[in-house]
């Protein structure tokens, strides 16, 4: 045997992540089809036959940007199946953990992915040259979110501390104290972020969305609530499959979601904000007003401002939760597996995330269903593109692609992390 060292300097790239096929006939856009890479289907298969207690950790690995969301929806579904009601300080701790994810994920989206679009940069690296302090503020905010996840979730990414019934270990009040200090600074940074994004040059657009989000009478929705919509839908999470249908689309590995009654719909910050404005903290509502936002928002390009409001809210809410925290007597509630079915729905940073599991008497997973925000929004993204691309057809190919990427970035960091991720194919028939 012998050894050999070689120097490579190879740049890892994201390939085959997204493709957009646009069909133009007689100068009109007939079709805009988005093809994206989507792993939840693979995870649904992976979960079959596994023990119910493994679902939170397995699903957390689906995404490094929103692991808590996957963990929370799955743990809620398992607790729903087994009849466990997690309340009091354990419930508050989970909300705190979710605040961490919102801060982290939104800060990433706003500063690293979305803002360069508005300021005319190809990416955060170019933007950092001219706006180093702004990029540093974004990183500091992201770090504050990470700190919550590291302490409450046990690890920065793919947290491992959440279990069915509660947590493996709960923090002491003393351990949470330094977080509060960091969060006060983060709240100031978040307020500055709202003011900064409100001053960006944001394109005008007013789309007639059917907005769908969770709603809870006492709190801005994260971990619990009923599913409501801007056109009168109001259902329990258990009834999700009676109103929403997923259909296979040949061209994509993703399933598309539709509402039986109204076809395509929108989940995510715009929907959450517009359906729950009154639940925001006074500070967040005030900042929204100062930023020129009303109680509802239908401009997808303005989602960057709405995300900033949600970061501010999450900092404010995390501080409130830390202040009110009482150490629980036990880290989790005891329980027994049983043959059952359970449903869980939470608000991932980029929108509604639904999980359903069927368990056998030993608690083995017989069936798993995961509907991520991306597949729910995909028909809406395509509708946005179809409507907007028509006006951009005379632009040079790379400018056209950038506009399309920007439109997609309004929705989701996960499908558009990479700059120039999109393979664009415009076919004239």
């Amino acid at each position: 045997m012998s050894r050999k060292t070689i120097k490579v300097n190879y740049l890892a790239r994201v390939e085959g992540e997204g493709a957009l096929n646009v069909t133009v006939r007689d100068g009109q856009v007939r079709n805009a089809e988005l093809r994206i890479f989507e792993p939840p289907r693979f995870f649904e298969g992976l979960l079959r036959g596994r023990d119910y207690s493994e679902a939170p950790d397995v699903t957390a690995r689906i995404c490094g940007i929103c692991p808590v969301a996957y963990q929370m929806s799955s743990v809620n579904a398992m607790e729903n199946a087994l009849g466990i009601d997690v309340d009091g300080p354990l419930r508050a701790l989970r909300r705190l953990l979710y605040c961490g994810e919102w801060i982290e994920s939104h800060a990433l989206h706003i500063y690293m992915l979305h803002a360069p679009d508005f300021l005319g940069y190809a990416g955060a690296v170019d933007m950092a040259k001219d706006y180093p302090d702004i990029v540093k503020r974004g990183l500091a905010l992201k770090k504050a979110g990470n700190a919550i996840m590291a302490l409450v979730g046990g690890r920065e990414i793919h947290p491992i501390n959440v279990r069915v019934g509660g947590f493996y270990r709960t923090p002491t009040r003393k351990e949470l104290a330094p977080l509060a200090e960091a969060l006060k600074q983060a709240r100031d940074d978040a307020l500055a972020t709202v003011r900064w994004t409100a001053g960006l040059d944001i394109p005008e657009a007013d789309r007639d969305y059917h907005l769908v989000a969770l709603h809870h009478p006492d709190e801005y929705p994260m971990n619990a609530g009923r599913i409501i919509s801007s056109r009168g839908l109001d259902i329990a999470v258990e009834d999700y499959n009676q109103h929403f249908v997923e259909s296979h689309v040949q061209r994509s590995t993703a399933l598309h979601s539709h509402l039986r009654e109204h076809d395509c719909y929108l989940v995510g910050p715009l929907a959450r904000y517009s359906l729950n404005f009154d639940q925001l903290s006074p500070m967040a509502r005030e900042a929204a007003k100062d930023a020129g936002l009303g109680a509802t928002c239908n401009n997808p390009f303005q989602s960057i401002v709405v995300r900033s409001i949600e970061v501010l809210y999450a900092c404010d809410e995390a501080l409130r939760l830390i202040d009110a925290y009482q150490e629980p007597e036990q880290p989790f509630l005891a329980h027994e597996p049983k043959a059952s079915e359970g449903f869980g729905c939470t608000e991932a940073p980029r929108g509604l995330l639904f999980h359903r599991y069927r368990l056998d008497a030993e608690g083995r997973i017989q069936e798993a269903q995961i509907v991520p925000p991306t597949s729910q929004n995909q028909p809406s993204i395509e509708a946005d593109l179809k409507e907007m691309v028509g006006g951009w057809l005379d632009l040079p190919a790379d400018v056209l692609r950038e506009r399309c990427e920007q439109t997609i970035r309004n929705y989701d960091p996960c499908i558009s992390c990479a700059t120039h991720f999109l393979k664009l194919d415009v076919r004239h028939e």
Partner: protein
């Protein structure tokens, strides 16, 4: 999702180099993480272990350098810098 695709790509590259160099396995890998690449060393190694399972890089030792220079030209990227390969001597003849 982004990181899954990124690390997959890296492991594919490792496989390709192994084949090209007629190596049996990768012993050491040095990776550089840019300040704006949104991956921490822990996060990266976890994904790497997942993707490398069953490949020539399965048991490779990871050396990760993470940069905090936001002005670096590759600040948003993940770079594979060098690797050490182990090969059967007969394969070299």
């Amino acid at each position: 999702m982004h990181e899954t695709a990124l690390v997959k790509n890296l492991v594919q590259k490792l496989q390709a180099i192994c084949t090209e160099e007629k190596a049996d396995r990768v012993v050491d890998i040095t990776v550089w993480l840019g300040a704006l690449c949104h991956m921490s060393p822990d996060h990266f190694s976890e994904h790497f272990r997942q993707e490398a399972a069953g490949t020539c890089a399965e048991r490779a030792r990871l050396k990760i350098e993470s940069s905090d220079d936001i002005n670096h030209a590759n600040a948003q990227d993940v770079l594979l810098q060098s690797l050490e390969l182990e090969m059967d001597d007969e394969a070299l003849q």
